[in-house]
Assembly symmetry: C3
Homo-oligomer: 343 residues x 3
């Protein structure tokens, strides 16, 4: 791709000039007016204030929240995500240090988040004290979350023939990672803490492609396989022993109501022992999928399904066309338009 217009040595010399002899920071090159660029931006900040946080002391630190997620993971799966291994004799101190670090960092973040409440409840005077209590309550749930996640790991091992061991699942399965962050965020959501739960689950969404709203309710022994493209809406309720594959949507029937629908149960209820295969959509707040139901790939379900039913979709018929040329070498497709072969 490089132009051969210079001998390499000249090119090197030139680029080295570019690297070292760039004008110093205060010697803006002629004709370029940094000050004008800055002035235009400052004017824009005055005109569009909705997306600016000037003079606001209540800004969450997203990268600190991500660090806290990492520390919580080390408390939940001790010894798995560390550089040096953990010994029985030291685990008390290591646990204590992690708990203390999380306690102090998360308290400050939650105190800030409490100032984002919609109901106008006071945020400064009581924020720090309230945040301390909330973090205490949250951290006292960690053992319970651990027991749920141990069952989720079991579910993945039992359900996936490709799983080599539970170590593999804990170390590498995106489903377990997304469920872990959801279970943590859900506890914060139940404590009515603004913003932080969603920042956490959207971080999991970034990493895994699995989008679980922290408001969803999910029972024990939950298994997500592959996972990319899964969406689980805010008011979804999922029972125990449920398995979900990639591309499944548990969603709402319409969002035309916009903010008017906020708080309404818009997403389905999935009872115990249900399996939902890839690409299926189950929609609507009144839709209940009964115990033990199996939903086939790509099914589109908007009404309730009684317990112990298997639901399959009669997939669109396949049309087979013999190709014109079977001669060796390159495949010669005929030139009729076949619109269904598309990217």
């Amino acid at each position: 791709m490089d132009k051969g217009c210079y001998k390499q040595s000249e090119a090197e010399e030139r680029i080295s000039l570019m690297r070292t002899n760039m004008p110093p920071k205060h010697g803006i090159p002629g004709g370029i007016h940094i000050k004008e660029l800055v002035a235009t931006l400052l004017k824009s900040y005055e005109e569009i204030e909705a997306t600016i946080k000037v003079d606001s002391v209540y800004q969450l630190n997203r990268s600190l929240l991500i660090e806290i997620i990492g520390k919580l993971r080390r408390l939940i799966f001790p010894g798995y995500f560390v550089k040096k291994y953990i010994t029985k004799s030291f685990i008390e101190y290591q646990t204590g240090e992690l708990v203390e670090e999380i306690f102090f960092d998360l308290t400050k973040q939650i105190a800030i988040a409490l100032c984002h409440r919609k109901d106008g409840s006071p945020c400064h005077d009581e924020a720090l004290g309230e945040a301390e209590k909330l973090v205490y309550t949250f951290l006292s749930k960690l053992s319970l979350i651990r027991s749920y996640l141990a069952m989720d790991v079991d579910a993945a091992f039992d359900g996936d023939p490709a799983a080599y061991s539970k170590d593999e699942i804990i170390s590498s399965y995106p489903g377990i990672y997304a469920i872990m962050i959801y279970r943590l965020a859900h506890e914060l959501y139940l404590l009515d803490i603004p913003l932080i739960p969603r920042i956490m689950t959207e971080y999991a969404h970034n990493i895994t492609g699995i989008d679980i709203h922290p408001g969803a309710t999910i029972g024990r022994h939950f298994f997500i396989d592959h996972g990319t493209g899964i969406v689980i809406g805010e008011t979804t309720v999922i029972g125990n022993n449920v398995k979900i594959y990639q591309g499944v949507t548990l969603g709402g029937l319409s969002t035309r109501g916009g903010q008017a629908l906020s708080g309404v149960k818009r997403h389905p209820t999935i009872e115990d022992g249900v399996t939902i295969y890839s690409g299926a959509s189950i929609l609507g707040g009144a839709t209940v999928i009964g115990q033990g139901v199996v939903i086939g790939s790509n099914a589109f379900v908007t009404k309730s399904v009684p317990a112990q039913t298997r639901v399959s979709v009669k997939n669109p018929e396949l049309q087979m066309h013999e190709s014109v040329s079977k001669n060796a070498g390159h495949l010669e497709l005929d030139q009729t338009e076949f619109w269904d072969w598309v990217i």
Copy 2:
């Protein structure tokens, strides 16, 4: 998982040997010939030159470009992605510093990118000067991009009942992040800068699962919900007030032409006020979706749709099978093959 074949103390001792007593760098263990490995690779570099950049001074720095994206985000949403909060009295200096840093770093990267032009236009002599002008033009568009993104945030808040506040949208919604990077990359694309726009949007694709080509044209007040799996092709044109859900493809009808199709309009036109629900595909360069159209989930559209039409797909009929055993305990599925229940 650990073998019990050693007492722990011995195992610890052994691994500590592994950690500290590894042969020093220049004492390669007997029988292992690092030199041979290196020689084989060097030979491979000579044989396959297409994927090597030796003696090329025109290599972009991807991690620097990602840093620049972070700084641009701080200019667009001031105060949201910082460790210390911004005050009115200091915002001028903070803005100025960011603009200067972006200016110098991006100028060098663009100067390098200009040497990748296909038309053989000179790259060294004029690259730096031209790059400075391009960066200036680009940065002078930032206020406009801000105003578009403020409208995009409004669109997300208006359209999503699960949205708690605009702060939540800015801090955590993958759609806003992907749209922001697209809007920045699109301006660089319009300035005809090679490589950099695509590196930026593919970075957004990595983070969000939303794949918007920088060449696409997208109007005001654009809303993406959930987003994973969305593909928006290079020659797509999207109007104002459009809403798109997860898994939507705005694609081409065939790629059999390969590079011969480069530059041809291959992707659809979506007019103002269109809503496209999850999993729908709209394909082809001549396909125009008229104003106010609503496209239902999973629809597969390859022809134009007149304005104000609602398009729904008659979804495949569901087949319900009662399960053989309804007795308590584990679900006993019968053993007939039901191929549609698949991962």
Copy 3:
């Protein structure tokens, strides 16, 4: 969003107190009992041991493995992912240094991984020596992997009209990144190394949304476009010159067997020259897609397809409803339920 309940100066003062005057680490605030939180966690560690790695010296270092992937990429595409450019005169030293670093780090990780073998073969005594040999064998395959990846880059350039240059593909295409990590992980999988191959491909899955099991077999000149949502199962076999688009699943027909199906061929065989368009699913261990077949978007294939056939799906008929109001301004949808317009 900020409450106006304080003058800014007071709020600033307060938050600054929050920042600096937080109780010191050893002065836990009254009423909060960190010790209790720690005790509860320690009890939980005793009760649920399955998800804990205490006193285990055989813990892999995931972040080190990710670093190794980065270094392997620099060996495969020299000069593309570096901060300073590579010159012919120095490439030998740079290559040598990378090979040595990878050699030592990867040897230790593999020695640890070998202790996770299911067959109970000894891990300590021979682990380090065996790991050295395995790494040597693996690194001696790098030239071959390079030649495959060069063909994969060609395939992407030939197949994608939006591809600007091979530099763009190497620098930004998620498909190439996922294929590269798969090809590396597959060699380690063939050497029967536990855990590491899957950690590598799941890392690629995180970054790209493309989930290729390291056990899959994939031929030359392989092209993945867009890629988000692709799943390629463990026992899949793919020939040469195959193209796959976003959302394609090459999967199993049922996982009801769970671990009992481990090792059985459960995923399809795709012969040379096959193209599989977006959203298609091909399932089952006995399913063979013959040479030169083209599978249309969203097809759901569970039986073998003879060579040179084009398979298209008769897509569900679209239903077009004229909207009630075509008057200017906002789109007025009628209020009948149209369940297929959903998120």
